[in-house]
Amino acid sequence: MTPAEQDEVRHRQRSRALIMAVLLGAFVILVYAISIAKMGMKG
């Protein structure tokens, strides 16, 4: 792999990691909101 290709791979890994972090954060918020909504339905 050439240095340019290595840089490209690292760049893609970084952007994928960032998006994964954002999605995980959104998932945590969603699960919290789902829990509150379901508790509200039972109440």
Binding site: R12, S15, R16, L30, I34, A37
Partner: protein, 303 residues
Amino acid sequence: MTSTTFQPQAALTADWRDFLALTKPRVMTLVVFTGLAGLLVAPVKLPAVLGFTAILCIALGAGAAAALNMWWEADIDALMKRTASRPLPAGRMERQTALHFGVGLAFFSVVLMGVATNWFAAAILAVSILFYVFVYTIWLKRRTPQNIVIGGAAGAFPPVIGWAAATGDVATLPMLLFALIFLWTPPHFWALSLFVRSDYAKAGVPMLPVVAGAKATRSQILLYTIPMTAAALAPWALGLAGPLYGVAAALLSALFLLLAIQVLASRAVEPAAMKAEKRLFAFSILYLFAMFGALAADRWIGA
């Protein structure tokens, strides 16, 4: 070359945009819209966050099915102009990555649907994904010109899933919406396959124009449009939808029929000359959006 042996050139780490492309986002918009309509016309109202989650799960399930479809069809996608630039045939992603992504997303969407709404809706979502992957993609697509007739059922599930997410049940109206999309799929896909026939022939996919010719395909398009019109009008005729939907369904279906008749009358051979076929294909997408939009608007006004 078979789907199990196809392997493009060694891929660099795939870009996140390639994962997004695997989910066929443009197809997803129609799936989301019909699923949302099913949810909105249901007699039970879900809290907004649960409704949002149900639609998210339908979208993710459709994305998973699309990714698994691309995993299996990488070899034929490489042969068709329309699909050659997809992540797998273009060599931007390993096949196994697409498989893992598709399976993971499918499990995630089904489990989240079960947890957020109910397990009946989750089960229908699971069936729709499995139907698309195993029945349509793996079993029928390469074997029979009836591939999209039977396989089209997979795309007809979203309004049923949306309804089931809200009610935990299935009733006549979502079944009629299922029938509408099921009967809409053949004219929609056959109009497309008429002007991309050479692509399908090159890839060895037995689409109807490849196997039976353009004339038979044009007749079949009209033949399916007639019961599709009946399914479109049925919710209004049975008193399950109001006059706004009835008028919209009558006008839109009449236009669909008119365009299908123009396709029947067309004698074009070259794709560039197939104006009637392209017009019907473009209108068919608008038709489904407008029909489900009219149904949701009708329910909203009547509420």
